[in-house]
């Protein structure tokens, strides 16, 4: 083993890493500290003698209480959760079958189809919401969760399909052939052999899809109007900023609570998630 000089390790490794970690985590810290800071401190002048922007000596949970009691935040949370889960399930189901077909079956135009599915993922939602708004209106789905549950898959399905197609391609096809000789049908081999092996890929596609729909903003802003129908990102934005008044404490409390589920999901599956993206099956 090559022995490195300690100062080199510090200069090239620890110091840059520390800067990076602080840079990444600081916004979350700021969010947290703001959410527990009493209003008196929040609206104090920056130049005041007793201003302590990076900590507080009087932590309070008042903002969280207000958020829960005076706004419809719990309902937003439930809306967001319901919409994210259902649209993720729809997208995973379609993505699994489509990804398998594109990754495994030989049929004419498979390559073209794969590429065109990818291209639909590249169409920015900021363009797509205009025609989608028409469709939502025509089907009278506006201001219902279904407006989002049915539109999120427009970008989630291509995403899941591509991720899973790539993953399926890393699984040796002999496994499936062997299962088919052993007595399984093609579908049986897919369900009993390929899907269990692809669990890391399926999980990471699911986590990604869940996060994308949890954080989605444009469609939710356009398609939902009444406060009790909104999702967390839109609700916080539209209900906690009144004209030029920012309810900073509640805003940050809401943002903090809104990011907790996603953080939890990630931390649970982080290992699967990494193997899912790097894709590896050893026979």
């Amino acid at each position: 083993m090559v022995v490195e000089r300690p100062w080199k390790r510090w200069v090239y490794f620890y110091i840059p890493l520390t800067v990076f970690v602080i840079g990444t985590l600081f916004p979350f810290y700021w969010m947290f500290i703001t959410s527990i800071r009493p209003d008196a401190e929040l609206y104090r002048s920056w130049r005041a003698v007793n201003n302590t922007p990076f900590w507080t000596l009087h932590p309070t949970i008042e903002h969280f209480r207000d958020l829960m009691a005076k706004t419809t935040f719990p309902i937003w949370l439930w809306n967001t959760f319901f919409i994210a889960v259902v649209s993720t399930m729809i997208s995973l189901f379609c993505g699994l079958l489509a990804g398998y077909a594109l990754g495994r079956l030989r049929f004419p135009m498979a390559g073209t189809l794969g590429t065109s599915i990818f291209v639909t993922y590249l169409v920015p939602p900021t363009l797509l919401f205009i025609p989608l708004a028409n469709i939502i209106r025509d089907f009278q789905l506006g201001n219902t969760p279904w407006a989002l549950i049915l539109t999120y898959p427009t970008f989630l399905i291509p995403f899941c399909t591509w991720l899973l197609m790539g993953y399926f391609k890393t699984i040796p096809k002999e496994l499936e052939e062997c299962a088919r000789i052993d007595g399984a049908t093609r579908f049986g081999a897919m369900v009993r052999i390929i899907f269990p092996i692809a669990i890391p890929g399926i999980l990471s596609a699911g986590i990604f899809a869940f996060t994308l729909s949890w954080n989605e903003f444009i469609y939710a802003l356009v398609f939902l109007s009444s406060p009790e129908r909104k999702t967390v990102p839109v609700g916080i934005y539209s209900e906690l900023i009144r004209g030029d008044i920012y309810f900073w404490g509640q805003l940050m409390a809401g943002a903090l609570l809104g990011s907790v589920p996603v953080a939890l999901v990630y931390s649970f599956f982080v290992e699967y998630y990494v193997t899912g993206l790097t894709g590896s099956v050893k026979g």
């Binding site: 040796p172 002999e174 496994l175 052939e177 062997c178 299962a179 088919r180 000789i181 052993d182 007595g183 399984a184 049908t185 049986g188 052999i193 269990p196 092996i197 099956v281 050893k282 026979g283």
Partner: protein
């Protein structure tokens, strides 16, 4: 237990004609090896028997059923793959039991059959492990075990030993042979290794470019190759080839080239006389070239210069130059020669092979 019949079997991909008119009758309990260089269509043929590739034209029968349109699961076959194809998420036991479970065997019988196969293969203590905890040789055994628990009509092997290291390969080769003698099941085995083909096969099918070149017992292929390709493919080191001109003097036929002149033995004179004045390819195996004293009969010996000496212990391989042609001779280890030494060599005239220059067929 069943015979396998391939009738005018063809496989065409978009641009490639991979398998061309293969006709083959594999008898019940026979071990047949398909051998050839990569891309010769041997694996494609096997995969058609397995049902993993569509058949473009022709017919495959297993037992007395035409299986062309049967899915793989209904063909009653088992296959061992080169990369083992063990299900990574299942234990060894579950891997071996999978085929039986799919066929809805009762639990007790599954357990009994898996135990039995595990004992035959000596993988008894591995049953609870996952494939990734096994070595290459152990994985190969599990793959074989998974095939034999089903008691299929036919075993298919697709280069099963290619991923093993040389020593293990020899050991597994012996075990496979022993296993086949014990189970007495028809087997089709694909390999590119001619040593495996010769040692394992009851009969060997040599393929090239989608065509069957020759079908025969191993020693028959070795001693009577049907054409130049088979002659060169079977045997290591490979057969020596030289372009010769056929001449007739005093009623005897001679094969002449730069640097040597060989008298064709009397029993083959009649066959070769029509080629008088024409060019042919002469083939001679390394072990059919011997060093001789200067007084040896001039109608089968010639002078050469040693180019490379490869002592292998039990024998020495001599690369020699005869005029412009190089040849390899396999000689006794007691022969003492150095590079650039002149040496007098003789051919065994009764073991010469002649091939037509154009058709490459044996004469």
């Amino acid at each position: 237990m069943a015979q396998v019949l391939l009738k005018a079997l063809n496989k065409k991909y978009d641009e490639v004609h991979a398998v061309k008119d293969v006709n083959l009758q594999i008898r019940d309990k026979e071990f047949v090896v398909l051998v050839g260089p990569s891309g010769c269509g041997k694996t494609t043929t096997l995969r058609m028997v397995a049902g993993l590739e569509e058949i473009t034209a022709g017919e495959i029968m297993i037992g007395d059923r035409v299986v062309n349109d049967l899915p793989p699961k209904d063909r009653d076959i088992a296959m061992v793959f080169q990369n083992y194809a063990l299900y990574p998420h299942m234990t060894v036991y579950d891997n071996m039991a999978f085929g039986l479970k799919m066929r809805k065997f009762p639990k007790a019988e599954i357990a009994q059959r898996v135990q039995e196969a595990a004992e035959i293969l000596g993988i008894h203590e591995l049953l609870k492990r996952k494939p990734r905890q096994l070595s290459g040789g152990q994985r190969q055994r599990v793959a074989v075990g998974r095939a034999i628990v089903r008691h299929p009509q036919v075993f298919l092997f697709d280069e099963p030993l290619s991923n093993l290291d040389a020593k293990l390969r020899v050991q597994m080769r012996v075990e496979l042979k022993r296993l086949h003698e014990r189970l007495e099941t028809t087997a089709i085995y694909v390999t590119h290794d001619q040593v495996e083909a010769m040692t394992l096969g009851d009969r060997v099918v040599v393929m090239k470019d989608g065509w069957v070149q020759q079908v025969g017992e191993p020693l028959e292929l070795y001693s009577k190759p049907a054409n130049r390709f088979v002659a060169g493919f079977i045997g290591s080191p490979a057969m020596n080839f030289a372009d010769v001109t056929m001449n007739e003097t005093n009623g005897a036929v001679w094969a002449e080239s730069h640097g040597f002149r060989i008298k064709v033995p009397a029993d083959r004179t009649d066959r070769l006389r029509p080629y008088k004045g024409q060019h042919l390819t002469l083939g001679v195996r390394p072990e059919d070239i011997h060093p001789v004293g200067g007084a040896d009969s001039a109608d089968r010996s010639f002078d050469a210069v040693v180019d490379v000496v490869e002592p292998l212990g039990s024998e020495i391989l001599l690369d020699v130059k005869v005029g412009p042609t190089s040849m390899v001779a396999r000689v006794d280890p007691s022969v003492r020669v150095k590079v650039h030494d002149p040496i007098r060599l003789a051919l065994a005239p009764e073991r010469l092979h002649f091939f037509d220059l154009k058709t490459e067929l044996a004469i």
